[in-house]
């Protein structure tokens, strides 16, 4: 789970109207997004995690700002519209840290590059939380497929 101070920081950087938290887990990031964004679409494939995320959002008093969806982000992505997308997909358990270099394409399920491409079709504005041993050169040149979404006016 994302440390709370990191989640707060990320949410402050991603302040916008509608944001998708594509792999919300128990809601640590979605809760902070609810404090900086007008609406949060929080998705997880595990109904138990979504149940816990909804509970946690209630504890923080922000459940009314979050739409929780149980489902596969890759399947749901074509139906979504948002101003920004936050990606913190599962890295495959604690063993991710044992590799000298983490490969987003081959070492996680779902494929980290496919996840990024799905997000790009929702919005070009993406925050992608990756393992700290990720090859940064792999993160930098992410492919940019044609985006059928629109550019929100995030700039101030």
């Amino acid at each position: 789970m994302t440390p709370e101070q990191i989640a707060v920081h990320t949410a402050q950087r991603c302040a916008c109207d509608v944001i998708v938290d594509a792999f919300c887990g128990v809601g640590g990031n979605a809760i902070q997004f609810a404090r900086t964004c007008a609406r949060v679409i929080a998705i997880d494939i595990d109904p138990e995690k979504v149940r816990m995320a909804r509970h946690n959002a209630g504890v923080y008093g922000v459940a009314h700002k979050i739409d929780f969806l149980v489902g596969d982000f890759l399947a749901l992505a074509p139906t979504l519209r948002a101003d920004a997308v936050f990606l913190a997909p599962p890295w495959g358990g604690p063993s991710y840290g044992k590799a000298a270099v983490f490969d987003l394409r081959t070492m996680m399920r779902p494929d980290g590059v496919l996840v990024f491409e799905a997000a790009r079709r929702i919005s070009p504005n993406i925050a992608y939380c990756v393992p700290r041993n990720t090859d940064l050169a792999q993160v930098r040149p992410m492919p940019a497929p044609p985006c059928r979404g629109a550019i929100p006016r995030l700039d101030r």
Binding site: P3, A15, R153
Partner: protein, 73 residues
């Protein structure tokens, strides 16, 4: 309920009326849109050790208009 985050600035209506007029122009109309990228390594308040090169606690890559954006509290 009021829409939008005042601190994030207003969203202007879309020329083609997409999504209730909330969205901006289509990506294809903006050359180079979405190409920006910023990689943020967060050490959770600790400076990276120059001798051991301790790894950061988290890495977040920001793309599009999120790249280079400052936090809005």
């Amino acid at each position: 309920m009021p829409r939008g985050n005042p601190a994030a600035g207003p969203l202007k209506p879309n020329a083609d009326g997409d999504a209730g007029g909330r969205r901006g122009p289509q990506l294809a109309a903006l050359p180079g849109a979405g190409a920006a990228c910023e990689i943020e390594q967060n050490f959770l308040g600790q400076q990276p050790d120059p001798y051991t090169a301790a790894p950061p606690k988290t890495i977040t890559a920001y793309y599009g208009q999120l790249a280079g954006r400052r936090p809005v509290s």
